[in-house]
């Protein structure tokens, strides 16, 4: 083993030293705070060992918000560096690292966990279940995701971040051209959190197919639950491809195999194919649940049932199938020939059809509805036109021959931000505002929320619309600086101003959480929005068992039917409720995986083997454990229900 301290160091940049110091200070602050307020036991009992889907969901969302700020700071640094010609804020290497981690973090450690968090909180409630099918596996999923994310984040200060773009194309990402450990971090951090995501996929498919309340047929499921089901099917079939791609990358970089090399028969294009066979479905993994969120919100705040339910489901199914046969449109210019490009061109454009169906369904849901302009509704309404711009520019890019002009320009960057930010980010923010009162028992302040909304919506367009024009003028993506003669300066400056505005918007959004926690009145009946689906039929905050009595579903929008058509939901008497008990093993497993990943990143074989054995030991401990959970007695349930008031008693 060649142990060399130099490998761990990252040199030269005051910004990196600043990041190191801030990470150290925050860590010390957390440790001191927990000790001073004697919260270690609370943290362990209530959060680190929890198997409750709601708490796991909240942890996912907290982690996602943290990562939003990490990725957002990356974005600000990039926009500042390119705000004017010949800026000296970042050097080329640092710029490469920043745009790589920005992409990775925003997609994999912000959008995905935010959506999985909402999924965790909402789906069991929407189908009238007490928890997910495998609560402990759910905790494993979360901790693998979390420690995978942590592993990627420490790369910034220990050893250096990945620097070959979030798509890590070979041969650039090979040992020869990226000799730092950065791309080792890439392959291992993504692998660890990817395994967690795959487990989530399995868990939610079983939950949705097997745990629905009596009477909730598939075609009575809320649209968000439908979107989550389809998303998880995509996860189960797409993530193994990423697993393989990352494993091969790891073999190439750590063990000298020849998969993606330039010599000895390797094929660098193979990486691009594998990456995008996962990567394109991944886009739909973050966007389909967003469609589900919008469907819920638009129906609720139009006071109408969702228009075209069946076509909504069908269009999502078609999108999920098409998502697996469009991947080559990411590299039309790599020369795979007219026939292949033609095929992928057509399939890509075909996606616009089911997506268009959805847009019209939302519009028809709005038509003649009694629309209330709440914060979540505002995001949903803004989504429709902005996402359409993203979609239409996507069709422009889909035409292979035209793409030779747009490829790898800022036009592309503008396009996918116009799709992903309204498609995923606005959706999770809207969902966050919408379901927040369900989880915490009070609403976020509407006035502050709308302030944040207008900052975000206007700044978003200021930040990204100029990039379309810059792209058409010929500015390529991922270039860390440019000269004044190019004329790119002014538009980039406008874009930087927009990025600052976005940052202000997000700060207001977080301030709203703080303000509302202190001053917002508590919510009395668990249904602040006069909503339609089952999650609103229980109390806010939600008791640990979700529903004292399992609801009986007789129609779509069963809660609405209960309120307005007097269809009873809860008919059975209250009986004892079976609950899973907490466990610390998933957390321990995450920690051990973290060390396994870290040792592999630095090729420290003996510690890595020890950690690998540690993983097996934790798994064995989980296998040998016999825990049948516990029962909450009926009288205790009745007492809780009386205390919470309303609802089922």
């Amino acid at each position: 083993m060649n142990f060399d301290l130099e490998k761990f160091k990252v040199h030269g940049e005051p910004l990196i030293y600043g990041a190191m110091i801030s990470i150290a200070l925050v860590s010390i602050g957390i440790v001191v705070g927990l000790t001073v307020f004697r919260k270690w036991g609370w943290l362990w009992r209530e959060w680190l060992t929890t198997v409750d889907h709601k708490r796991i969901g909240v942890m996912y969302i907290l982690a996602a918000l943290l990562m939003l700020f990490r990725g957002g700071i990356d974005a600000l640094m990039m926009r500042l560096q390119t705000a004017a010609p010949d800026m000296k804020f970042l050097d080329a290497q640092h710029y490469n690292e920043v745009f790589t981690t920005h992409g990775l973090i925003m997609i994999l450690f912000m959008a995905m966990p935010f959506i999985i968090g909402l999924m965790n909180v909402v789906v069991p409630l929407q189908i009238g279940a007490r928890d997910v099918a495998f609560p402990r596996l759910n905790a494993v999923s979360f901790w693998l995701f979390f420690f995978g994310a942590m592993l990627l984040n420490i790369s910034f200060v220990i050893g250096g971040s990945p620097d070959a773009g979030w798509s890590a194309y070979f041969p650039l990402a090979s040992l020869e051209f990226s000799p730092t450990v950065g791309n080792n971090y890439y392959s291992l951090a993504l692998q660890i959190s990817g395994i967690g995501t795959l487990m989530t996929g399995v868990n939610f498919i079983v939950t949705i197919l097997k745990m629905r309340a009596p009477g909730m047929k598939l075609m009575r499921m809320p649209m968000f639950t439908w979107s989550v089901l389809i998303t998880n099917v995509i996860i189960v079939f797409a993530f193994p491809v990423l697993t393989v791609a990352l494993a091969l990358m790891m073999f190439d970089r750590l063990f000298g195999s020849q998969f993606f090399t330039m010599a000895n028969g390797g094929m660098d294009m193979l990486w691009a194919n594998l990456f995008w066979v996962w990567g394109h479905p991944e886009v739909y993994i973050v966007i389909l649940p967003a469609f589900g969120i919008y469907s819920e919100i638009i129906a609720t705040f139009s006071k109408k049932n969702l228009y075209g339910y069946t076509s909504m489901v069908a269009s999502m199914l078609i999108i999920s199938l098409l998502s697996f046969i469009v991947w080559a449109h990411h590299f039309y210019t790599m020369g795979q020939g007219v026939l292949v490009n033609g095929f992928f061109s057509i399939t890509t454009m075909a996606i616009a059809v089911p997506t268009g169906v959805k847009i019209f369904n939302w519009l028809f849901t709005l038509r003649k509805g009694r629309i209330s302009f709440t914060t979540p509704m505002l995001y949903s309404l803004a989504f429709i036109p902005i996402f359409t711009i993203g979609g239409v520019t996507g069709v422009m890019l889909a035409m292979a021959s035209a793409d030779y002009m747009y490829h790898n320009t800022m036009f592309l960057v503008a396009h996918f931000h116009y799709v992903l930010i309204p498609g995923a980010v606005f959706a999770v923010i809207a969902g966050f505002h919408y379901w927040f009162p369900k989880v915490f028992g009070f609403r976020l302040n509407e006035r502050i929320g709308k302030h944040a909304f207008w900052w975000i919506i206007i700044s978003f367009n200021v930040a990204f619309f100029p990039l379309f024009i810059l792209g058409l003028k010929g500015m390529t993506r991922r270039m860390y600086t440019y000269s004044a003669e190019t004329g790119f300066g002014p538009l980039n400056m406008i874009s930087f101003a927009g990025a600052l505005g976005l940052a202000i918007g997000f700060v207001i959004l977080v301030y709203n959480i703080y303000w509302s926690t202190r001053y917002m009145p508590r919510d009395e009946n668990g249904d602040p929005w006069d909503a339609r689906t089952l999650e609103w039929a229980t109390h806010s905050p939600i008791p640990e068992y979700n529903f004292a009595v399992v609801p009986k579903v007789k129609s779509r929008d069963p809660f609405w039917a209960m309120k307005h058509d007097k269809q009873p939901l809860f008919e059975e008497p209250i009986t004892k409720i079976h609950m899973p008990s907490n466990t610390g093993k998933p957390f321990v497993l995450g920690v051990v995986f973290f060390f396994l990943g870290f040792f592999l990143v630095f090729s420290m074989w003996i510690p890595a083997i020890v950690a690998g054995v540690g993983v097996l030991i934790v798994l064995a401990a989980m296998s040998f454990e016999r825990d049948h959970g516990f029962y909450i007695p009926a009288d205790k349930v009745i007492k809780t229900e009386k205390k919470l008031g309303g609802g089922t008693v």
Binding site: A133, V202, I205, K210, F259
Partner: protein
């Protein structure tokens, strides 16, 4: 814990029947994983660089023994599940043990094969063909290794607790996994070895 006696023991509780369904879904993901590895192999199969080709490297003898061991072990794990359904604990343990021993035998031969390849100068680093060969076979072998450890853990639990809903459920899921590895091996035998020998 409510046990539904109209169903086989391993399906008896709601949780256990969910576990089995969940494992089928997981096997779907495993199929996607091996499909990707096979695709990689087929893409790189003729890229020998300066290294040997499949027909120069492969010998049918050891591979046939591997195939024989793994296919038979798939049969014996089926017998173990059959014994389990009849509550024959000893017979179940014997068949389970035979299964794992055959798995171990398979691994022994596979490792010997790998060592032979490396001695003939065919390493992971030699060519893209060999990289994909070693990683495809290695992933399958790693699955068998994990299965051996997992199966051994289940056997210990069976010895301690006998056949109950929990151990029956674990054993049944293990048998699904083992059959799956067998199916993957059939593809490896046909499309890697037999085709490679042609």
């Amino acid at each position: 814990m409510k046990v539904d006696t109209s169903k086989p023991l391993e399906y008896g509780t709601h949780e256990n029947s969910n576990r089995i369904f969940g494992f089928w879904v997981f096997l779907g993901a495993e199929i996607a994983l091996f499909a990707t590895l096979f695709t990689v192999f087929f893409v790189l199969v003729n890229r020998f660089a300066d290294g040997p080709s499949g027909s120069e490297l492969f010998e049918i003898g050891p591979v046939l023994i591997e195939t024989f061991l793994l296919l038979t072990s798939s049969f014996t794990i089926g017998l173990a599940v059959h014994a389990m359904r009849h509550q024959y604990k000893r017979a179940m343990l014997v068949f389970f043990g035979i299964t794992l021993l055959m798995g171990l035998g398979f691994l022994g031969i596979e490792i010997t094969e790998f060592v032979t390849y490396v001695h003939e100068g065919a390493t992971l680093q030699t060519s893209a063909f060999l990289s994909s060969l070693f990683v495809l076979l290695g992933t399958h072998g790693a699955h068998v290794t994990f299965g051996f450890l997992w199966g051994a853990a289940i056997m210990i639990q069976l010895m301690r607790e006998g056949i109950n809903p929990a151990t029956a459920n674990k054993s049944f899921i293990f048998s699904l996994y083992w059959h799956f590895l067998d199916v993957v091996w059939i593809f490896i035998f046909s499309f890697v070895y037999l085709k490679g020998l042609m």
